[in-house]
């Protein structure tokens, strides 16, 4: 059987004539929307559903919500893997970008577009930063501890009062940077809002700091891929409509 030539000359249907795939009405001419054969009214109705500006606020809100959800999941995975292994793995950045882009695209009712793509870029960038915030806080606390230790070791050496004051000021600054979030969180709702704002600010700064500081070209590439992925997934998807196409032999 497998050596038999394949025939592509299918027999024509016994009853010719096109019908709408939505309302099943017989057609003398048809419209095509993304490959579906439709009557004019069904085609226009579907097109209207997918391009109308009605409900835009709701779509933007839903896209933002789902995008934030994707961002938090992706950031959590990034943090968990980095914490467990000590590695920043590029593929997880792509996952984060994909989750953000997919959430936004779904929230936009699969419309996508430039505005949604900008939202995807911002949330992806923020997601990468949020994943790194715990490490940054820990680094600040460690820096503070090391400053304290170096001050303790240097205490036995003779030094001027101004040097001592300068070292203590540096110690205060390092410890304050790391402890500020913890203190704010203990200060009630206002404290929580302040802590949240600080986290967002830190999350926005960390990747930028890495890029400007030129600390890691690989890190820059990873951010780039993540953002590109989010941009691609949140892109506009326009319905393709064509017609009317006359059906041969059908009464007009």
């Amino acid at each position: 059987m497998t050596d038999t030539p394949i025939s592509f000359d299918d027999a024509p249907a016994p009853t010719s004539g096109a019908s709408c795939s939505r309302c099943h009405r017989s057609l003398s001419s048809y419209w095509s929307l993304d490959g579906a054969v439709l009557c004019e009214s069904c085609a226009q109705a579907l097109r209207e559903e997918r391009t109308s500006g009605d409900g835009a606020v709701g779509r933007v809100g839903k896209a933002f919500g789902l995008g934030v959800g994707g961002m938090l999941v992706g950031a959590a995975v990034w943090y968990a893997v980095a914490r467990a292994t000590g590695w920043e793995i590029g593929y997880i950045a792509i996952l984060l970008g994909w989750l953000v882009g997919k959430g936004i695209h779904r929230g936009s009712e699969k419309r996508g577009g430039l505005g949604y793509q900008v939202m995807a870029i911002v949330l992806t960038y923020l997601g990468i930063g949020i994943a790194k915030v715990p490490f940054e806080i820990q680094a600040q606390i460690e820096a503070g501890r090391q400053s304290f230790d170096s001050v303790a070791v240097a205490e036995s050496a003779p030094r001027t009062e101004s040097e001592a004051r300068a070292q203590l000021a540096e110690l205060d600054s390092s410890l304050a940077a790391g402890k500020e979030l913890e203190d704010d969180a203990q200060g009630g709702i206002l404290g929580l809002a302040s802590a949240f704002g600080a986290v967002i600010l830190l999350a926005l700064m960390i990747p930028f700091h890495s890029i400007i500081g030129g600390q890691s070209v690989i890190g820059i590439l990873i951010y780039g891929f993540a953002i590109w992925q989010a941009w691609k997934v949140a892109a506009r998807t326009d319905p393709v409509l064509s017609g009317p196409h006359p059906v041969a032999g059908a009464p007009s």
Binding site: P5, T85, Y91, A248
Partner: protein, 323 residues
């Protein structure tokens, strides 16, 4: 481009339609017949990769419910069997069949035939540029010694894919390196999921070989650098077996039945237990999660499963010994 009107009934055809909405005949029936003839001709001449390509083009011109799809799948299955038997593939070395001279001739022929494979990537400008960019970026991050070791490790992985594709006479590009992610090769379409699995597994298998080589040198010389290369190579090759996205693991498991996938999951767990390494455990967890989303099993490939399990467990042993 879609024809303007149906050649059978004269109905105007919308762009992208594969079947006339009125008389239901295939829009590209005439073109499909020509493509099928070309595919049969290529198969008769043992140009199996060309035949595979033609049949895949035909599939793109058929609607999802066309009965001809099953017939084409059967043709591709036959082509796959012929490729696995090596038809239209390897050139057998000529020369004396026994003795020392036979060994010398065989070695020389190996260098002339397979040896050129090692240099294939260097003949492609884009591949060279990507390779140097990759080396430069990792050199800056980790020093030239480790960067070069990683580059060679990844290159040998890609050579595994390339060697496998060349065995099946499927066109393949030189490897392109992407810093932060690895490398990839582009190749022609493959006739069956089983051949796709063979090609996909060839990369991690070659990577295992490279890691074993580095491990052996490390044990002999006592050099920590070699152990680090072995460890890194084994981990990234294991990571490649996660069945998601474009990673090799997705194609490796494609022909396996549900039971075979469960057995592979058990092998992954065993690998994590052997390696006793946080990154390995993370990779195994990711692979197990991804396996859950691949519930639709294939026709089965016991040999491929055994090879996959062997490679996976081997990588775990290398990770353990290179820690």
């Amino acid at each position: 481009m879609t024809p303007a009107v149906c050649v059978r009934c004269g109905t105007s055809l919308a762009p992208g339609l594969l079947r006339c909405p009125s008389c239901r005949v295939l829009v590209y029936a005439d073109g499909l017949a020509k493509i099928a003839a070309e595919a049969e001709q290529a198969a008769a001449e043992s140009r199996l990769a060309d035949a595979t390509h033609h049949w895949h083009v035909a599939l793109e011109l058929l609607p999802p419910d066309a009965p001809q799809r099953a017939q084409i799948d059967a043709k591709l299955h036959l082509l796959g069997e012929r490729m696995e038997r090596g038809e239209g593939g390897r050139t057998k070395p000529k020369g004396p069949s026994k003795g020392v001279w036979a060994g010398i001739v065989a070695a020389l022929l190996f260098l002339v035939t397979k040896g050129k494979l090692l240099l294939l990537a260097l003949l492609n400008g884009g591949a060279i540029l990507s390779m140097f960019a990759f080396l430069g970026i990792y050199w800056r991050a980790w020093g030239w010694v480790l960067a070069l070791g990683i580059l060679v490790s990844i290159y040998l992985h890609e050579l595994g894919h390339m060697f496998s594709l060349m065995f099946y006479r499927v066109p393949v590009s030189a490897p392109m390196f992407v810093p932060g992610f690895g490398a990839f090769v582009r190749h022609g379409v493959l006739p069956t999921p089983r051949i796709g699995a063979r090609v996909a597994l060839a990369g991690p298998a070659a990577g295992l070989g490279a890691a074993l080589l580095a491990l052996g040198i490390g044990k002999l010389t006592g050099g920590a650098y070699w152990s680090a290369i072995a460890h890194f190579g084994a981990v990234i090759n294991l990571g490649n077996l996660i069945p998601v996205w474009q990673l090799d693991g997705r194609k490796v498991i494609a022909p396996w039945t549900g039971v075979e996938r469960i057995l592979f999951a058990a092998a992954l767990v065993a690998t994590a237990a052997i390696a006793r390494d946080p990154l390995t455990t993370t990779v195994v967890v990711a692979a197990l999660v991804a396996l859950v989303f691949h519930r639709n099993g294939g026709a089965g490939d016991r040999r491929g499963l055994l090879q996959g399990v062997a490679v996976t467990l081997g990588l775990g042993v290398v990770i353990l010994l290179s820690a």
